[in-house]
Amino acid sequence: MSLKNNIKGILLPVLLLTCFLLVGWGETWEDISRDTAGIESIQAEFTQHKHLKILTKPLVSKGRFYFQKPDSIRWEYHSPVKSVLLMHKGNVKRYTQGSRGMVEDSSGALSSMQVVVQEIGLWSQGRFTESTHFKAEIKGGKEQKIILTPREEAFAAIIARIVITPSPERKGVIKSVKIVESEGNYTLLNFTDVRMNEKIGESVFRKAG
């Protein structure tokens, strides 16, 4: 399975979700690992701004995501296209609203998700430096950031870097995630209404509706 195939349309949201798990981080990887140990679940609204040179204003998508330890994720778009990505007990599915209602995506891209889930297992424990695909770096200064850069050239041709900005006001909350593909082309995700360690029913991760 090629590296490029692994990220095809699927890895991106997973990266973002996984990054979100690393809330409450400190200034070292050890701090981050310790802080993430207490996170059982996360829920948040997100707004996605897609910037492209071809667009004069960003294309805005909105949705909500859920995470439940150890590896259950629901990544849901409400607009402009209704879509749900579900990861639960090693199974990955995606449903999109189309002309025949909510239809499961069968384009083949999801087969790579089994590999990605292994990455999540590492990252959700704050073990960034053990990732085989990304090299992680903490940047201090006025506003702390975590920079992820691809280890392999094939990957770097698709994603140049990912920049995670923690919320300065609320410990344990991510403010934004920026995925840079190339100069002028990037995706910016802003998170709001973040709720942590609230009970989430299992069906949220199993059912598209």
């Binding site: 090629s2 996605q48 071809i54 294309l59 402009p80 900005t165 840079v180 593909e181």
Partner: protein, 237 residues
């Protein structure tokens, strides 16, 4: 003997049944007179973009074998310059394909499986047919029994392009190389301010595929000039 006759009859019956289904119905046409047929010519231009425009569509693709995928497509069209710029991305915003066409195809970015040259050429041909009027100026035209206007153009590759506009302004485009070899078929759905909110394109090559385009945004742009930076281009990093 009787069995042979029966087999022949059955064969003939199958030909009569199957052939009309596989063929394009090709009505006789008369040549256009640019002076007297101006209204007809203008009606045939209804499907095509008149001014530089930017479109964002949600694209539901049904691929050979029944596989489905939904993508976002951004297209800038400049009809005067015959220029197209198309970006195809996942719902999460990952760009899979970025290419331009100005008579020649230029691919800026292509992620597997969208990096095959045949894919890029076929996709640009789809987009060209969706938005740009055929370059053939010597079209034939006529009015059909149901009141629809039909114009027939010759494509660059020698294919025939039939544009049919119904009295209710819904339209259809069919391309074929002969009455038995259909290439593409496009149907418009309801429109808003003259821009279709839904389009359906059926491709009969590459194993057959269907693209259903739902309009997300449409806005006029200045002619094929580089766009200004996004509002929050300088946002946080």
């Amino acid at each position: 003997m009787k069995r042979r006759m029966a087999a022949r009859r059955l064969g003939l019956l199958l030909i009569l049944v199957i052939f009309p289904a596989a063929c394009v119905h090709v009505p006789d046409m008369k040549s256009l007179d640019p002076l007297t047929d101006r209204a007809v010519i203008e009606e045939c231009g209804r499907p095509f973009v008149k001014l530089p425009y930017r479109f964002v569509h949600a694209i539901e693709a049904t691929l050979p074998g029944g596989r489905t995928a939904t993508l976002i497509g951004v297209t800038v069209v400049d009809p005067e310059a015959k220029f197209l710029h198309s970006v195809l991305m996942t719902l999460e915003g990952l760009v899979l394909f970025d290419g331009e066409y100005d008579g020649n195809l230029s691919v800026k970015r292509a992620v597997p499986p969208f990096d095959k040259e045949s894919f890029a050429r076929n996709m640009m041909e789809d987009i060209r047919l969706l938005f740009l009027s055929p370059e053939d100026s010597s079209a034939e035209a006529g009015v059909l029994m149901d009141g629809s206007t039909l114009c027939r153009y010759r494509g660059k590759e020698g294919e025939t392009i039939d544009v049919t506009v119904q009295p209710d302004h819904a339209w259809k485009i069919v391309t074929y190389v002969n009455p038995f070899d259909r290439l593409r078929e496009i149907k418009s759905g309801d429109d808003k301010d003259g821009i279709p909110e839904e389009l359906e394109l059926k491709g009969y090559s590459h194993g057959g595929y269907t693209l259903r385009l739902r309009l997300v945004e449409a806005e006029p742009v200045s002619a094929a000039t580089p766009p200004s930076p996004s509002e929050d281009e300088t946002d946080q990093e």
